[in-house]
């Protein structure tokens, strides 16, 4: 082994004297001593402390309001009606009154911050007017993270592949074709179960204007979802021959009657829904306050509001709850107390450990050194 041909003489078999073969590669052996470790501990504790306090202050600056409307107000009637499967398609409107005690004030951000921390939105003329009050719908106990549920979609179809449009992936079974054999677009359980309640918020008899686009992830909106196109054909013509998912009341090309560019697979609500939540309790963005006109230029003023709900989505089957969340955001996002608290707890633990180690070092350090000698 390790013989080098052509060598001869009495030392022909002598192994090479290379640092690698003799295991003498230059190397750094970290020596952990009190002088290096203790300052590191204190430094990390301070860093965590600083981060925790900073984040906590930031989070304190946000406001959040959660409204469970599953059975609240007049929605109780709709809730009962949805229990009856035969009336599933019948529309049901309900209303919920609530009060905002403290105005949702907007914390202004410059664009650079948005780009750095938020990552996706490119400033445009409409977005300059958009406010930082966000309207979410939330679902509880709805499992978007079931394995078979998550598989039940066809990204090829959603990115506009025409062969997939007419011939959806087998993963979509049983939501790939309708009873007549027409392909379903968009296919699969995810799209089929889309959250289809809609909301209007009223303040003093005035509709609170909500921006209903620009609420999806940049990559989703711009890369992941594309309508199939075929020359100059309209969307309806392109989708001709496909069926909407069974639970849908309208076809995919008519999702947004107001904005023709927000239809088909690139509808923002659909895109938001198709990005599956990781946990059974989740919220998804519904709209952003449009601060173009008074009294909403500085956010939501305090006062009485009413929420009109078009109550379509049944949750009683799976013992779920529905809610609406209103919140203001900072660069760090919305109300999220866990991370600052986690930082503070970590900081305290490290500090405690550091103090204990320091005491030990002071008390026994010298003897330890003696033992080394």
């Amino acid at each position: 082994m390790g013989k080098v041909k052509g060598r001869s003489g009495p030392l022909a078999q002598r192994p090479d004297n290379s640092a690698f073969k003799q295991q003498r590669l230059p190397a750094w052996s970290p020596m952990l001593t009190a002088n290096t470790v203790l300052p590191f501990f204190y430094l990390v504790a301070l860093l965590c402390m600083f981060l925790g306090v900073w984040l906590l202050l930031t989070v304190q600056g946000t406001q959040e309001l959660k409204l469970d409307y599953t059975e609240a107000g007049t929605c109780k009637g709709c809730f009962d009606m949805r229990k009856n499967a035969s009336k599933a398609a019948e529309p049901c409107e309900c209303r919920l009154d609530f009060e905002i005690k403290k105005a949702f004030k907007v914390i202004f951000l410059n664009e650079q911050q948005i780009l750095t921390f938020g990552s996706t939105q490119v400033a445009s003329s409409t977005q300059k007017k958009r406010g930082d009050v966000f309207f979410y719908y939330g679902l509880q106990n709805f499992h978007q993270n079931l394995r078979r549920y998550m598989d039940s979609r066809d990204d090829g179809q959603m990115v506009g592949r025409k062969n997939k449009l007419m011939n959806p992936s087998t993963y979509c079974i049983p939501f790939n074709t309708d009873q007549a054999g027409r392909p379903i677009a968009p296919c699969g359980a995810v799209a089929n179960s889309i959250f289809n309640d809609s909301f209007t918020l009223h303040y003093r008899g005035q509709v609170v204007p909500l921006l209903r686009t620009g609420i999806a992830w940049y990559t989703d909106k711009n890369i992941k979802y594309r309508n199939p196109s075929n020359g100059n054909m309209t969307l309806a013509q392109v989708f001709n021959g496909t069926a909407p998912p069974p639970y849908w009341h309208k076809p995919v090309y008519q999702l947004d009657p107001l904005s023709p560019n927000n239809n088909g697979f690139i509808n923002d609500d659909l895109i938001v829904w198709m990005r599956e939540a990781a946990f059974p309790n989740f919220k998804k963005l519904y709209g952003v306050l449009r601060r173009a006109a008074t009294p909403f230029t500085k956010g939501l003023p305090a006062g009485n509001y009413s929420l009109n709900v078009s109550y379509n989505f049944p949750v009683q089957y799976f013992r779920g709850r529905k809610e609406v969340v209103l919140t203001t955001l900072t660069w760090f996002g919305g109300q999220n107390h866990f991370l600052p608290v986690a930082y503070l707890v970590t900081s305290c633990l490290i500090l405690l450990a550091a103090v204990v180690l320091t005491v030990v070092w002071f008390k026994f350090g010298k003897t330890g050194r003696k033992m080394q000698d």
Partner: protein
């Protein structure tokens, strides 16, 4: 009656030996005896094998199926194949098929490439060997044939320096007296070692070349076997019977030397040759870490099943309580009709997901690390002996870490502790002792002080003792000049004398003596016997025995090897009578050896003492220091030697095993063990103490001692001692020796070390490690062994940790995703985690890590102790690693879970989506395990840096690639995690501006 006893003893020994070395008696063939006719190809058709050998296992067509079949006999590989099959069932498949097949294929192909390379070289050497030319007599004419076409019964002609093509019966030789000389190079396995020249005899009357040309002889002999030193057969030629022995055989693998030509009859060909019969596989040794690892893997299997059951129960409950209600959104699979069946499927799905707790790459990584350590042993310059130009060699690559756990060393004495270079030191003749002061001057001895031939005649002997004796005799003027089968010629004080050799009564380990019967020029017949003093003592004439003791007492105190010499005058009648019984025994086909031994015993009686010789065997360099260092490392060294008690004790003192401050030196002989049960400091055990019923007492007594020297032990007893300690102490044993008598000990110890020295290389061939100096043992154990153990332990701890941290996250996620066997990470991450993201840093640590430099571990032998106490990796350590892994998984799952459920981007989009969660957790995992390996690594070489930073870099670059638009637009259903880096966004936006 004594004869009977001895026979019984020998039979028992053989039986035990056979049990100990099962392969040596393993006869594969059912052939009971072999009948060959020379030059009769039709008759010899019945023999299965031609001379074509095939050591290769595969050819191009069979490679894939056979190699795969062999690999799938490994339990781990079969397990992963089973997983793969599970994954192909759509209802169960929770992961894409490639998450298992990519690592499995990688592991299989690494092994397959290694096997293929090995086999390619075997093919090459087979082809080369099979196509060697040899000259075969066909119908009386010499024709060139390839080796592979040579058949049994052919007569072939060999020329000088040619390899012997098959096992041949020597028929004629060009040399006088029908001798021919061979070297046993290939037979011993190495071309580098000193070769011995053996003399072979042609059976009488068969020496003329003409005869062989048309030889029509028949031969009956034993069936093919692997005994190199035995052959027994009968040749029938012209109505006469000739007994054939091993001395008439030319074995395949030898090289003809100093012989112009010779003819031989092929008896065993191809796979039947003794060379091929000996190349069988030996017993496979496993380390204690191996066994522990297998146990732990089994436990992990159990753990996996438990987790699967817990999650399946969870699934049953969930499906019944929630899932059945959720059916309007997600109907059950058509094949699932109730929640119990769903739970059953979920169990298998979770077995697939959680299979990574049983790491597929564990075994391959362990092999790679061990191979690396073996290379470091081979490359170590400090274990290179420049005198003999031999580097240390790790002949087994699977035992390295056990070198760090050795508690008992069993050492041979001669050639291991000593140099086995014998110098004649003393002799005692007729009651007078002569001491050799200078090489050529013997005090008070009236021999010619210098012999002019001394410088020119160099003897080569199979035994160093004989070499020393003959050399000494030469120096005193009695020069051994030549030897033919029937004569011995010497020059005695300048006068040539030729003795006629009548018989040689051969040496073996049981007889411990050998004799010759010669007729001197005056016609007197005399038997000369040389052997161990105790053996000879029993056979001396009663009046001589007193004298013998006087001789020996003055030698023994010096630790010299003594041989006693005796003679007996035989009358013509005595010789005639004995010669007849000897011939009879010699020709016997059954129990030939036993009969010969009895015949020898008969004549070696009533001998007269000639004198005794003492040969000094010097200690090897550095032996006392090595023993001192090893004792400080709490390693107990036992010397097992066949020498006498006094010699052994003296060697003990000179090795500093025994020191003067050891107050009590107990010497136990016979059956007096019963009486010695107090605190003992040293026991010098006589071999009789090894009777079966005293095993436990022997062990407990011997283990209470500081040093143990066992003397007068036979090779078998050496192995028995080792087995005894293995059985009673559960400690790791190492046996070190250099000669054929150490082979059984080397094979039965956990680790066998062979010293490549003077006594051939049989011990080296049987060993796991070999080097040429005893003192290298301290470096092998304290440096290489210690490092190997440390590295392997650190490697295993980290390996189990990283897989638990990785896998258990799925378990926690199960409670949130309705136990639906959804994974936390995406499938590419799962595929690449073990083979790309985390494989190399831990390999680098496992191969290169050092806690203290090598000089330090030699200076402080106490550093060796953690290995002996098995502190660095045991079940407790394993549970700590597992606990740490599970803790990491808890943090890795619940912190992102809690943070992300409420988090939103600054633009309002919630971050609680699956993609964000998966990527966050995966990234955190890779960073955490990289930090952990950074903390575990104690020796940061360039390679460690490259691997650690490279792994992190590879993770981020692969992530960027997998999340790229390009891949998504090509395969939208396979790469659905599209994303973009904020950094890139900033850069591109600026660019656009």
């Amino acid at each position: 009656e004594t004869l009977k006893q001895q026979e019984d003893e020998e039979l028992r020994l053989r039986r035990d030996f056979a049990l100990l070395l099962p392969f040596s008696t393993d006869l594969v063939h059912t052939e009971e005896e072999r009948r060959v006719r020379a030059n009769d190809r039709e008759y010899n058709e019945k023999f299965q094998y031609s001379n074509c050998i095939m050591t290769s296992k595969y050819n191009i067509v069979t490679f894939l199926p056979v190699n795969l079949f062999e690999q799938f006999q490994e339990v781990a590989n079969t397990y992963f194949l089973f997983l793969l099959i599970l994954q192909l069932i759509p209802q169960i498949s929770s992961l894409s098929w490639f998450t298992t097949i990519v690592p499995l294929a990688l592991v299989l192909s690494i092994t397959a490439v290694k096997d293929a390379t090995d086999d390619y070289f075997r093919h090459k050497s087979d082809n080369q060997v099979n196509n060697r030319q040899s000259q075969v007599l066909i119908r009386g004419l010499l024709q060139n044939e390839k080796w592979m076409n040579v058949r049994v019964g052919d007569i072939i002609k060999l020329e000088n320096k040619q390899f012997v093509a098959a096992d041949l019966l020597l028929l004629s030789s060009s040399e006088p007296h029908g001798l021919c000389y061979i070297e046993t190079a290939e037979l011993d396995g190495s071309e580098e070692t000193p070769q011995f020249t053996y003399r072979l005899k042609v059976p009488h009357h068969l020496q003329k070349e003409q005869d062989t040309r048309h030889l029509t002889a028949a031969l009956v002999c034993e069936p093919p076997n692997n005994k190199l030193d035995r052959f027994c057969g009968t040749l029938y030629w012209r109505d006469k019977k000739y007994t054939l022995t091993n001395q008439n055989m030319l074995l395949r693998g030898c090289v003809l030397r100093n012989t112009e030509t010779c003819y031989g009859l092929v008896i065993f060909a191809g796979p039947d040759t003794k060379l091929m019969q000996n190349s069988g596989s030996t017993k496979f040794k496993r380390t204690s870490i191996d066994r522990l690892m297998n146990t732990l893997v089994l436990w992990i299997f159990g753990f996996l099943v438990c987790m699967g059951v817990i999650l399946a129960v969870g699934n049953a409950v969930w499906e019944r309580e929630v899932g059945s209600l959720f059916q309007s959104y997600l109907p059950w699979d058509p094949s699932v009709d109730n929640f119990l069946f769903s739970a059953f499927l979920s169990f298998w799905s979770y077995v697939i997901i959680l299979n990574t707790v049983v790491p597929i790459s564990l075994y391959v990584s362990v092999e790679v690390i061990r191979l690396g350590h073996s290379y470091f042993i081979n490359w170590d310059q400090e274990m290179f002996c420049s005198q003999c130009n031999t580097a240390a060699e790790a002949r087994t690559t699977t035992l390295n870490e056990e070198l760090g756990q050795v508690e008992y060393i069993f050492s041979d004495k001669t050639g291991t502790l000593t140099q086995n270079i014998m110098t004649f030191n003393k002799c005692s003749i007729n009651g007078q002792t002569y001491v050799l002061r200078s090489p050529f001057y013997l005090q008070r001895l009236d021999f010619t002080p210098f012999n002019p031939l001394g410088g020119y005649l160099v003897y080569k002997a199979q035994s160093p003792d004989e070499g020393a004796l003959v050399t000494a005799a030469r120096n005193f003027g009695f020069v051994f000049r030549s030897r033919t089968p029937g004569t011995i010629t010497t020059t005695e004080m300048g006068r040539p004398v030729t003795y006629t050799l009548l018989a040689i009564l051969d040496f073996n380990n049981i007889r411990k003596r050998m004799s010759v019967i010669v007729r001197d020029p005056e016609g007197r017949i005399c038997l000369y016997c040389k052997g161990a003093d105790t053996v000879l003592l029993e056979r001396l004439h009663p009046c001589e025995q007193e004298l013998m003791n006087i001789y020996l007492d003055c030698f023994n105190t010096d630790g010299l090897r003594t041989l006693a010499l005796a003679y007996r005058d035989l009358s013509e009648d005595e010789w005639e009578a004995w010669s007849e019984s000897y011939c009879c025994a010699d020709k016997a086909t059954s129990c030939r050896e036993d009969r010969l031994a009895a015949a020898y015993e008969h004549i070696e009686q009533d001998m007269m003492l000639l004198g005794a010789t003492a040969i000094e065997d010097k200690l090897q360099e550095g032996v006392p220091e090595t023993i001192a260092v090893l004792s400080l490392a709490n390693i107990k060294i036992w010397v097992l030697t066949g020498d006498k008690q006094e010699t052994a004790v003296n060697i003990g003192y000179s090795c500093k095993m025994l020191t003067d401050d050891m107050p009590e030196v107990f010497i136990i002989s016979g059956n007096t063990v019963h009486s010695v049960r107090q605190e003992l400091r040293l026991v010098c055990l006589s071999a009789h103490a090894l009777e079966a019923d005293m095993e436990t007492e022997f062990v407990s007594t011997a283990c209470a001692c500081k040093a143990v020297i066992c003397c007068r032990v036979t090779p078998l007893q050496k192995a028995q001692v080792v087995e005894l300690i293995k059985k009673h102490k559960k400690a790791v044993t190492l046996a070190i020796g250099d000669g054929a008598n150490d082979v059984s000990m080397i094979k039965s110890a956990h680790i066998g070390v062979g010293i490549s020295g003077q006594e051939g290389i049989q011990a080296v061939l049987a060993s796991d490690y070999s080097f040429s100096q005893f003192r290298f043992l301290q470096r092998l154990l304290l440096v290489h062994g210690r490092w190997s153990y440390l590295r392997m332990c650190r490697f295993l701890c980290y390996f189990f940790y990283k897989n638990f941290a990785f896998t258990m996250v799925h378990f926690w996620f199960g409670f949130f995703c309705g136990f639906s066997a959804q994974t936390v990470y995406d499938q590419y991450f799962i595929t690449l985690y073990n083979i790309v993201y985390t494989s190399l840093p831990v390999l680098a640590m496992g191969i290169f890590d050092q806690d203290v430099p090598d000089q330090r571990s030699l200076e402080y032998p106490k550093l060796y102790e953690p290995g002996q106490l098995n502190l660095l990796f045991n079940k407790r350590e394993f549970f700590i690693c597992i606990a740490q892994g599970i803790y990491t998984s808890v943090v890795l799952f619940f912190v992102p879970c809690a943070v992300l459920s409420d988090a939103t981007q600054s633009t309002g989009e919630p971050l609680a989506d699956y993609q964000t969660f998966a990527v966050t957790t995966a990234t955190a995992l890779v960073i955490v395990v990289s930090v952990q390996i950074a903390l575990d690594t104690g020796f940061w070489t360039v390679i460690n840096h490259v691997f650690v930073w490279g792994s992190l870099g590879s993770y981020f670059s692969i992530m960027l690639a997998l999340h790229s638009q390009t891949l998504f637009l090509i395969f939208p259903n396979q790469f659905h995690f599209v994303g973009r880096s904020p950094l890139l966004v900033v850069l591109t936006d600026r660019h656009i501006d």
